[in-house]
Symmetry: C2
Subunit: 407 residues, 2 copies
């Protein structure tokens, strides 16, 4: 069960210049959409970030080669099989899919980017995907975001969509995005796919900078189990249909509001992954303040967010905050003065100057731990930097889901 | 249920110069031994290693101060409460216990080293411990190793003891040790306490070097859940009663056989912790060969050993070896050529040159995964270094134990 508000927005705005389709190609399971194609207008610019896992999957390798050559016109995604750990055969199959789509659509192969998610280490049934492409291309339509968001799900229990409309100087902008992922989630992407499109008109290199920066505050700040996937990719498309005025620098008056709106959408899509974390019963925001650097705040936040002992205590609604202190202590921060560290759960101060807060009561701790959304705020009191990571608890169901995944 | 051979040795050799006792002091639970005192002859030398967690517990701070001043005569250990995250009050209580013992035994306080293990962040009932000291001192005896090994247990399901006798040049040497710990286990110690004594006659500074080196191959190469405890300590005592000939350099003819025997005992005590890992159903040895450095082999081994996805797959006896590849891929090794990487489960090659091994069959994978003791061998094929880490699987019971720990 996903935690908290995970509803699809009432209105999912189509993005002019983007068409999508979802098709049941039978990659691994029958009668389930597992092939999603996104068509991008040739006016668009695009930005991409990919996994830092050295064992990156075949489609990621192909994607990087294609994206280096051309701006994408088609994104083709399959679920059920990650096409990772599959060697040269896997790469050939990823290319086969791109070539088949390119031929059918009449575009160059380098404008087709492949994405795969699912089980690792098994040969991809690329023939099934190729056989599904005709139907996928026929069904392309601007209002298929929700079908596509369903089509990219693996162990996800919900489709993950965010959508916004806003006006700046009488220009109406729209942003719509979708994501998938609920396990193998960790910084530097995750078993995570994210596709966000806007009709803003943004120069390609600026768009890449925006994606990199926004990604650091969103998809690179979530963790379910600390496992970095071989397949993580995130794509940001700007179709340019909202206005002919090109946004080509941070000085453009529309830049910052668009950046902020995109950030909202990305954080929402990232949080949805954690809210749907495998077996999650609680959504936790780990905020670290008072650090010397953002990096050390990030390190502390991740140490806490990764700790199985912290995560099982939250699952049990047990204010065993000592486990939080222990995780702060092994985060590897140089010269940490533990006697300066304060810790809060929501508004309850549990630890002051490295020990139990005098005002703390077990009852107050129990009350806050009974909530399904809890913030953990750690103040290191040694600087002005801060950072935030989103995570969930570790439950029986996490083990069940991951022990049963292939069966 | 602990995994594999975890039996207490048929013969547990007393070590001349060491006496032990276990007492029910009522620190947290009634009618359960929770106070263990070890008396050390004044002829002995001692070596200590402690946790690297910045939030180290009050007893660890006191221990470090005392050990810097004097060679220990008494080790006093309580379970039920880790006296960690307890600030100045915690430190005062640790000192109170040491002072009470020192007064009763007629020794200087700096010769008493305190150890605590149990729940973090709650005030220690030091009064109960002090009240139990008379009984603890009265009951000291050389043959109480098993009672003491039981007395230091927390969530441990078994007492952990190793014992050896061996002769070199007509000198009979004995080594006996005990350990505790089953969760919060990770490099740089763990919620782990280890006490090993030998009757060898070893100079103090050499003994410290030996402990540091042996620790790197044993207690610092195990992981259950990746959490580094605030309380980990390991003590090595050499009482010197076996011979008047002092071993004061690595050139001494007895040095290497004693070093090797101590290493065997330490690895056994470390493995017992993993075999008794919280909820463990499988014991896994992760061996990485062909690395450029020992550190990178260690990093890869720990990435695999920490991965919840790998650990749940082993719990499920599922040869989902792609998760192993994914963990190797995010271990952070520079310029890793994944197309050189081979992976074996016991004698079954599952991955060759970064892809599925041609000889691999699902049946062979299933057969090896059905075993309760499995080695994962990863060959990076880029150098001559190697390293080994011991771990266990991640089961429902791990979550249950850690979600219920305080209730």
């Amino acid at each position: 069960m996903a935690v908290g508000n995970v509803a699809v927005p009432n209105t999912v705005y189509p993005i002019e210049g983007i068409k999508l389709s979802a098709t049941a190609a039978g990659v691994r399971y029958k009668n389930r959409d597992d092939l999603v194609v996104i068509e991008i207008a040739d006016t668009a610019t695009a930005a991409v970030v990919t996994t830092k896992n050295a064992f990156c999957a075949a489609p990621v390798r192909v994607l990087r080669e294609h994206f280096a050559k051309a701006s994408p016109r088609y994104l083709v995604t399959n679920t059920g099989n990650a096409n990772a750990g599959t060697g040269a055969d896997g790469k050939r199959r990823a290319i086969d899919i791109c070539q088949a789509l390119a031929t059918k659509a009449g575009v160059d192969i380098s404008t087709v980017l492949p994405f795969s998610t699912g089980v690792i280490g098994e040969p991809l049934n690329s023939e099934a995907i190729v056989a599904g492409l005709d139907s996928a291309l026929t069904n392309l339509a601007p209002d298929n975001w929700q079908a596509a968001a369903n089509g990219i799900r693996t162990t996800d229990t919900i489709p993950k969509i965010a959508s916004q409309k806003f006006d700046i100087d009488n220009v109406s902008y729209h942003i719509t995005g979708m994501s998938k992922g609920s396990g193998m989630i960790r910084p530097n992407m995750a078993t995570m796919l994210g596709y966000v499109a806007t009709d803003a008109n943004i120069k390609a290199d600026l768009l890449q900078e925006m994606l990199s920066a926004i990604n650091e505050q969103s998809f690179n700040r979530i963790t379910v189990d600390g496992d970095t996937s071989t397949n993580d990719c995130c794509v940001l498309i700007a179709t340019g249909t909202a206005s002919s005025d090109v946004i080509d620098s941070v000085a453009h008056p529309h830049y910052q509001p668009i950046f902020d709106a995109l950030t909202d959408v990305f954080i929402r899509l990232a949080q949805l992954i954690v809210r749907d974390g495998e077996g999650a019963t609680k959504f936790m925001t780990v905020k670290v303040t008072g650090g010397k650097t953002t990096q050390e705040c990030c390190d502390v936040a991740y140490a806490v967010a990764h700790s199985p002992l912290v995560k099982t205590a939250f699952f049990a609604s047990d204010a065993n905050w000592g486990r939080i202190l222990a995780a702060v202590g092994y985060a590897g921060i140089d010269d940490l003065d533990t006697e300066q560290v304060d810790v809060y759960l929501d508004d309850v101060m549990i630890c002051q100057n490295g020990g139990v807060a005098p005002s703390y009561t077990e009852e107050a701790g129990k009350a806050v731990m009974s909530r399904s959304e809890i913030s953990i705020h750690i103040d290191l009191a040694r600087g002005n930097a801060n950072d935030t990571v989103y995570t969930c608890d570790l439950s029986y169901d996490y083990v069940k889901i991951n022990a049963d995944y292939r069966s």
